[in-house]
Amino acid sequence: MRKRFDDHSLHPKDVARQKAAGRIGMGKRNLVLPLLALSGVEKRFGGVRALRGVDFTLTSGEIHVLLGENGAGKSTLMAIISGAALPDRGTMTLAGTPVRFQTPREAHAAGIVMIPQELDLVPGLDIAANLYLGHEKVTPFGTMAHEEMLRGAQTLLRQAGVTLDPRLHVSSLRMGERQLVAIAKALASDARILILDEPTAALSATEAEHLFETVRELKRRGVGVIYISHRLEEVPRIADRVTVMRDGLVVGDAPPDAPQADLVRMLVGKSFQDLFPPRASSIGQPLLTLDHARFTPAVERAGWQAPRDVSLTVHEGEIVGLAGLMGAGRTELLSSLYGFEVRGRWHGGVAIDGKPAALGSIRAARRAGIGYVTDDRRSTGLVLGHTVARNIVMSTLARMTPWGLVSAGREQTEVVGALERFDVRPRLPAARVINLSGGNQQKVVFAKELLDNPRLLLLDEPTRGVDVGAKGEIYRQLRALALNGLGVLVASSELPELIGLCDRIVVMHGGVTVAAFSAGVSEATLRRYSLGEALVA
């Protein structure tokens, strides 16, 4: 496993490798000499200049947060560091030695490990098998040394600060736990530099906190960590140093305690508060009314928090936020209102337009004028391989195809109109969705759902994985739609987003709506109610 710094009984090959990784021959803890230094790096993809002369350094034992909008060049920079791409120009040195990685394997051998957003774990295997994937321990008889691997896995998990049984299957783990296993796996390969790409994107607040602890533990062990994030609120809690990129350039460094507003200004060139449009002055009739409503799923699923006692009202023209921790039942509330991938019955008061309604199936929801945008556009929102036009008309095919026949003219008109309205770029109906940036993909999902003219829109984490600039556009769109009478019920784990966007915020805890607040509530209050503390006190 991890070799000690003062281990002199190393194989010559290992010595060379460790030298390259900056472990030997640079004194005990020399933080002055950077572990990794890039200078003047340029990279072009076709006509796009992804990097236009970037300098970047990382010292060992440092957590260096890298911020940037989609297309700012972060991913390209990481691709170069981790050997997935070659720079067109510029140099890279690892512990003072110039390096040029041709393949990710070479970078890996030098101790640079990247943990991508889509984790490369095998769900069907247990944790230990995943940690030893590709370099399994074998007994002298050629069989697998299960005991040894289990013990080793325990050590690795402990080092990563994780308390999980290595015999658990990865498929049974939550996202946050998988993330930690992926980090432990990086430790197993003796990582010297760890690149984390939005590790908290799919994590709850508690899971994220756990991840931070693990990352800080790695830092104490002298690992250099490059931490890419969209969540500005994480920065002061994790960063030693912050670098902001925009348009293929480093626009500046910031101290870890830099105010969010400053970071936003560096990222997009305007302030955070300006992202939120002004609120509506009036709201209309009640659209959706839940009065002590309860949902009983046909099949109980572990970890699926059924709505147990939900009371809330969404009026026409109103944006209502759903706050709560992961597992509070926000997503479950939305998906059972829409009848998506869950079967069961609603009990108690469920009314649309003041009249009792039988929700629980997609058909019923759509007939009632309800649209739903999930938190995962790639797996449930879009057909990535299809064109923008095909995706946009997907929810309105019945209208687009009189007598069951495709009407190319009608389709073209609607799609062009939608691209215009939602400012999707490029404005090409024939572009494949997979080639669009995250923010533009999200706009396509919105366009698709809104083309069907819903009266109530259910949104789950509408700005997840979307950069700050696109977030602002989505907020503006939502408010504009609300001004036209659309009711919105939006679940989000980003409290500043809910506070900035919503007219009212309902807090959930354990499948129960515990409190409702009008605009102007503080983050601290929301957090207290989310944790369920206010109930006990």
Partner: protein, 345 residues
């Protein structure tokens, strides 16, 4: 952030490499190549190119009509993200059923043919229903369906080979049925091929010009997204097997008509030729992408290739090898493009 590491999505227009066009038209290009190869390598007699001899061309288009019809239905199934291994066996069942009803039962064409088509369709629908309801992979269900259809064919034929004689009275089939083995337009154009072309036109229309076709693409492209958008996913997934069974039923009738007999072993292995035609035609085995015109070209290409090899007295073994190579080539080209696109397939 969803941009991929290897190919950051440029903010501008999506790039199109020549490779994309190569694949979009791969079946047509392949077809042209095969036809050119046919002309070049064709044996000549008295200065005439045998490959282009009307008789030979009639042979080619006749030989592809059955697998072609199967491939039409298969295209819907594969675009919707499924697979249907039962079509060859259903062809056999339909062929035997046609012969048995016409000859042994003395039924007329007006009752026999619709019934056979309905049986094929229902067989397909049942497979779709089982796959969707019980959530069993289509591969398994249709593999089981293959066995079941062969079993039914044995029952229907009483475990024998049924010869179709034409004429009046018991034990004879109506002479009109023999038309399937004949040719039109001065003995040049096989009727079986005409059936294929008519069905191909209908299938192309259904896939490209109707709401149903859009549903099929959406379901194969992303089932969950399709369901969220209010598309009747389950119905689409069941119905494509109905279409496939419908095509297999017609193919069985064509088979019985062309060869004037029905045998329970008819059409064995045809499902693989049908799948090959679809894949060569550029349809994605993972679903969500493909074209009917590609399938048609793929079927013609396979038929022409087999014909050239036969004309040159190439052994059956070499013919199989050549077909295998072409399938790999077509699939390889597709995966090249998928990688160039940065798509995750």
């Amino acid at each position: 952030m969803t941009e991929s590491i290897t190919a950051p999505a440029p903010a501008g227009r999506p790039r199109k490499s020549p490779l994309v066009y190569l694949v979009r038209f791969q079946s047509l290009l392949g077809l042209i190549l095969v036809l050119m190869g046919g002309i070049i390598f064709s044996p000549r007699r008295h200065g005439h190119i045998l490959f282009l001899n009307p008789e030979n061309i009639a042979n080619i288009v006749r030989s592809i009509s059955e697998t072609g019809i199967l491939a039409l239905g298969m295209t819907f199934v594969i675009i919707a993200g499924g697979i249907d291994l039962s079509v060859g066996a259903v062809l056999g069942l339909s062929s035997v059923l046609t012969a048995a009803l016409l000859v042994n039962q003395g039924w007329g064409l007006g009752t026999t043919l619709p019934l056979v088509i309905v049986v094929g369709t229902i067989f397909g629908l049942v497979q779709g229903l089982i796959s969707a309801r019980l959530r069993i992979q289509a591969f398994i269900v249709t593999l089981a369906g293959l066995q079941a259809a062969r079993g039914l064919a044995l029952i229907a034929s009483n475990n024998t080979f049924i010869n179709i004689n034409y004429g009046q009275g018991p034990g004879n089939a109506p002479p009109a049925f023999a038309v399937l083995g004949e040719r039109l337009f001065g003995d040049t154009f096989p009727v079986a091929t005409l059936v294929f072309l008519v069905l191909a036109g209908l299938a192309t229309f259904l896939l490209d010009q109707t709401r149903y076709g859009r549903y099929v693409f959406a379901v194969g492209g992303n089932e969950r997204a399709a369901r969220l958008s209010g598309i009747p996913v389950r119905w689409v997934k069941i119905s494509v097997y109905g279409l496939s069974g419908f095509c297999a039923g017609i193919a069985g009738i064509v088979h019985a008509g062309q060869f004037s007999f029905g045998s329970p072993n008819d059409g064995s292995g045809y499902e693989l030729n049908a799948i090959a035609a679809v894949v060569i035609g550029g349809t994605d085995l993972f679903g969500g992408a493909g074209s009917m015109i590609g399938t048609i070209a793929g079927a013609v290409m396979l038929g022409a290739l087999a014909n050239i090899l036969q004309l040159n007295d190439v052994s059956a073994a070499m013919q199989l090898l050549a077909t295998g190579a072409i399938i790999v080539l077509a699939a390889g080209l597709q995966s090249l493009v998928a990688r160039g696109d940065g798509s995750t397939r």
